[in-house]
């Protein structure tokens, strides 16, 4: 049995015929060759497969392709020209927010959504909000720092010119006190 699915993927209307059991992740990766979205667990825990469905973050490994008929899907590739994502990527680069890169697309998508909903977020709240994206390389410190850095940069961008300059954080600054 094949299901006909019509969805907007990264701004382009796509139609594909899929078996009901095919995941959105596999359609993106194998049919559309959008391989930024990675598979780390295929049971919805690690977050490496995070994409946006109708603008909201979702786990593509447990979204059946058949169930997203009529929806709009955005992957990391689809945000290549997005200015907010560009700022976030620049922060991850500046603050060493990635090592092997496998969890990174999921981290970026989740960060993008987080900073949209909670622009002033910092510290432990970032950790709580990002707890659904697992990383095995960084120990999360560089990722949290990158998101904080991006939050400041985005806030500075949205303020009128001449308003409070953002303090940029040093990559390996030692925290004072316990």
């Amino acid at each position: 049995m094949k299901i006909s699915v019509s969805a907007t993927v990264n701004g382009t209307r796509q139609t594909f015929e899929v078996e009901p059991r095919t995941s959105l992740a596999d359609v993106l990766r194998e049919e559309l060759r959008l391989t930024a979205t990675h598979l780390g667990c295929e049971h919805g825990v690690c977050g490496a497969c995070t994409v946006l469905i109708d603008g909201e973050p979702a786990r593509s490994c447990i979204a059946l392709a058949a169930s997203i008929d009529g929806a709009s899907v955005t992957t990391l590739e689809g945000l290549a020209d997005d200015p907010t994502m560009a700022t976030i990527k620049a922060s991850f680069h500046d603050q060493h927010g990635l090592q092997c890169g496998f969890c990174t697309p999921g981290m970026l998508i989740s960060s993008w959504d987080l900073l949209k909903r909670k622009p002033g977020i910092e510290g432990r709240d970032i950790r709580v909000a990002m707890s659904g994206n697992l990383c095995r390389c960084t120990g999360y410190q560089g990722i949290v720092r990158s998101i904080e850095h991006a939050a400041h940069a985005l806030q500075a961008q949205s303020e009128p010119a001449g308003a409070n300059p953002t303090a940029s954080k040093q990559p390996h600054k030692e925290e004072a006190g316990s």
Binding site: H38, T104, N133, R136, Q141, E174
Partner: protein, 790 residues
């Protein structure tokens, strides 16, 4: 509190040794344009699902493949030409066994490979695997160390007299004399739970035949492609000249990707046989159940000390549950050997007797994982030192430091003949203690917390052999010896530099740090340096990335090659500038004579395309090949002290890390930003060992944690902010004094955290002696202590 760096930096070397340069490799990963194994495809490719054993120990009587699927399922007989993997130690008494690509006689662990199912999609291949019916004669499972040791135990390997891979002893010094004069004798029994490596990307293999080059190309998510080529060629019966192994982008390695796996052999062999591209992507359940496991150790320890806590002697018994097969090339015995070999840690302990016993069980084979045997050894000695301190009624931090090898004793030969090259262990420990505020913590502990939680302080120190070369690997008895690293530094005619290296970067930032070494020698901007690695046809033969060796070894080779290249660039530049050679300097991608300069592009153009512009007698082209071995191959010893404060909730058993400090010394740091991140990443994994990660098996040998719901790795809220302090005591034996440091972060946390938990629980008389210290185990310890008091 970052100390100023030791290595001198010249003008024009702002991106060189010691600079926190941002990474060259970030671009493709941030754009999601990396290419991992699962992103690769070849026309005509079939997907593979393995038919794996559902039982821990059984003979295979028969296998029924449904009619429709015959022709899609392959067994050992179909790739009979593939020789089994044999990882035998050269040490006498090691029990060898075959690890075939596919088993045919009996299965020895849940997940053992029986057959290969191929189909156009992975889903269909899994359907085929599910449809096959295997008739097993089930055998009792050797599911535990105690079962394996039992004289009547079933044999994992039928031709062995027992279930012992290897049993070795260390007997250095007169233990009887020590026993007689010790004022204090302290015993401890400890267990470390079985681990899975859990890189975010699992393993994977894609094999296909390249008809133009008449070679088999095998992509594998591996940490050492050249070495895989060597052993794979042997097992396939082909020449290495007809085999290409490529590690694409690799999503984390940590050790489980640092073995020759039967999956690699099976896929390569079948692809050859069928002349068909085949791809296998390890899924998470396979990774948890059947990738090489790690860390399952048991310790029985005795420390003998004087009345001040000075250690006079140490007795240790290490038992490792090494699973069903010996992993190649390390052999099953390496883990216990490493642990017993480094047990004395940073301490000056003159007498040491140890027994290292490695057992076979019906579990996934045990292999190296970040820190390898050192993590268990650190757990053992560091909990023991705390116990000794309490036995003599003194602060453990003080007793620990007093036992350390002082800087005046460096270089120090340990009782296990390891040569500690340089370092100030006591200073490092003192910095960690001061940074975490031990005095304040002790003061806080005297009053109960309003929410009822108990504060604990723990610390752990270690010294880590890194970048060891020939002498050490020979001593370990491996079938291959990792003695050197190569580098080919090659200019392009347009003035860019390509470094072809034999290590395999998978997150460590080597595409940047090796470029920094090139910058240090040549003054070429880091952005103009490309590092090529991971492809056995592209790079000179190298050993890969593991054992905290890459920066030291490959960095050394790049330095040697680029130093020579710099001389040639200077000669050509001087000639083009009509300047005396000694007055020419290299910086910013140019050769300077005063204000005049020529670019590397001009120099390279001359070397390749206009030899008429070259100096008399100078050969054309612009590349240098070099190899590097450290001055001593016995290793450069990095070391650290981890200190942690935490709160234990006696009502729920939950542990919250309040503060975590690492003071470490890896000699000269090439890129402090990258070094710090490696430490933090390692600490996160160590924290997983201490509190979360365990692969339990039931008494049928069934693994019980087959998803991330059961096998928990730390997430962003489980890892605290880690404060990292750097010391730099260069190694006398390596280029720039670099020491390896990739694993260190994962060595000390279990010891530091368990020590802290036990410090918190001491008023209750409770103690945890096992990792992970789950809430239930903490509560059980508290309840047991309460009952004992009653």
């Amino acid at each position: 509190m970052n100390q100023s760096f030791v290595s001198p930096r010249e003008v024009g070397r702002e991106q060189g040794i010691g600079a926190s340069v941002k990474r060259n490799e970030d671009r493709r990963f941030l754009d999601g344009q990396g290419e991992y194994l699962g992103d690769l495809r070849v026309p005509g490719m079939a997907e593979v699902a393995f038919l794996r054993s559902p039982l821990a120990h059984a003979r295979i009587r028969s296998i029924d493949v449904p009619e429709a699927y015959r022709g899609s399922v392959f067994f050992a007989k179909d790739i009979a030409f593939a020789k089994p993997i044999v990882a035998a130690s050269t040490a006498k008494g090691f029990n060898a066994s075959d690890y075939p690509a596919l088993v045919s006689d009996k299965v020895r662990f849940v997940g053992d490979l029986i057959g290969i199912c191929i189909a156009p999609t992975r889903a269909e291949a899994e359907d085929i695997a599910q449809a096959c019916v295997i008739d097993f004669e089930e055998l009792p499972a050797v599911w535990d160390i105690d079962v394996a040791l039992d004289a009547d135990a079933p044999r994992v390997h039928d031709h062995w007299p027992n279930n012992v891979y290897f049993d070795s002893k260390i007997e250095n010094g007169d233990l009887d004399a020590v026993r007689a004069k010790a004022a204090v004798t302290v015993r401890k029994s400890l267990r470390m739970g079985r681990h899975v490596g859990v890189s975010m990307e699992g393993r994977g293999v894609l094999a296909h035949y390249n008809r133009r080059l008449d070679e088999l190309t095998v992509y594998s998510s591996t940490q050492f492609p050249h070495v895989i080529r060597t052993i794979m060629a042997q097992c396939l019966g082909v020449s290495e000249a007809k085999l290409r192994v490529i590690a694409p982008d690799v999503g984390g390695g940590f050790g489980p990707k640092n073995n020759f796996h039967p999956e690699e052999l099976a896929i390569a062999a079948l692809s050859m046989k069928l002349n068909r591209p085949l791809r296998w992507i390890e899924d998470r359940r396979e990774h948890l159940i059947a990738s090489p496991h790690a860390r399952e150790h048991r310790y029985d320890l005795t420390a003998y000390a004087d009345a001040r806590g000075k250690l006079l002697g140490l007795e240790a018994r290490v038992v490792v549950d090494a699973g069903a097969y010996s992993v190649w090339p390390w052999t099953a015995a390496m883990e216990a050997g490493m642990s017993s070999g480094i047990m004395t840690g940073p301490y000056d302990i003159p007498v040491y007797h140890a027994r290292a016993l490695t057992l076979a069980t019906n579990k996934s084979p045990l292999g190296p994982y970040r820190g390898v045997g050192r993590t268990g050894a650190c757990f053992a000695i560091e909990t023991l030192v705390d116990a000794v301190a309490h036995a003599v009624g003194r602060e453990p931090a003080d007793v620990r430091i007093e036992n350390m090898v002082p800087i005046s004793a460096m270089p120090y030969r340990s009782v296990t003949h390891k040569l500690y090259d340089s370092g100030d262990y006591p200073a490092c420990a003192r910095q960690a203690i001061e940074a975490i505020g031990l005095a304040d913590i002790r003061a806080r502990q005297r009053k109960p917390l309003p929410d009822g939680r108990l504060i604990g302080f723990g610390m752990a120190s270690y010294t880590e052999q890194s970048a060891h070369g020939t002498a050490e690997w020979v001593a370990r008895g491996l079938p291959v010896v990792f003695g050197f690293e190569p580098a080919l530094a090659r200019f392009t005619p347009d003035g860019k530099l390509i470094l072809f290296v034999g290590i395999q970067n998978h997150g460590q930032g080597l595409e940047t740090t090796l470029a920094q070494v090139a910058h240090q020698e040549l003054g070429i901007p880091v952005e103009d340096v490309i590092v090529r690695h991971g492809d056995s046809s592209v790079s000179p033969y190298g050993m890969g990335t593991f054992a905290s060796r890459s920066m030291t070894m490959a960095g050394g080779a790049v330095s040697v090659a680029c130093t020579q290249l710099a001389e040639k660039v200077t000669r050509i530049g001087a000639h083009l500038l009509q300047a005396p050679k000694d007055a020419v300097t290299l910086a910013g991608g140019k050769a300077f004579f005063g204000q005049q300069s020529v670019s590397f592009a001009q120099i390279a153009e001359a070397a390749f395309l206009h030899p008429e512009r070259m100096p008399e007698g100078e050969d054309p082209a612009l590349e240098v090949s070099a190899v590097y071995q450290p001055g001593r191959s016995t290793g450069a010893f990095s070391y650290a002290t981890h200190a942690c404060s935490l709160a234990v909730d006696p009502g729920t058993g939950h542990v919250e890390i309040l503060d975590y400090v690492v003071c470490h010394d890896c000699g000269t740091m090439v890129n402090p930003m990258i070094v710090e991140a490696q430490v933090v990443g390692g600490v996160a994994q160590g924290l997983g060992t201490a509190l979360y990660e365990e692969m339990p098996y039931d008494d049928n040998g069934q693994p019980l944690a087959s998803t991330f719901l059961d096998y928990m790795i730390p997430g962003a809220t489980e890892v605290p902010d880690v404060r990292v302090l750097h010391m730099e005591t260069p190694s006398p034996h390596t280029r720039f004094g670099i020491k390896g440091m990739g694993e260190g972060g994962a060595i000390a946390p279990p010891a530091a955290i368990i020590n802290a938990i036990n410090d918190a629980l001491r008023p209750l008389g409770a103690e945890v002696t096992q990792t992970p210290a789950t809430p239930e185990r903490v509560l059980d310890a508290i309840l047991a202590a309460a009952e004992a008091r009653a």
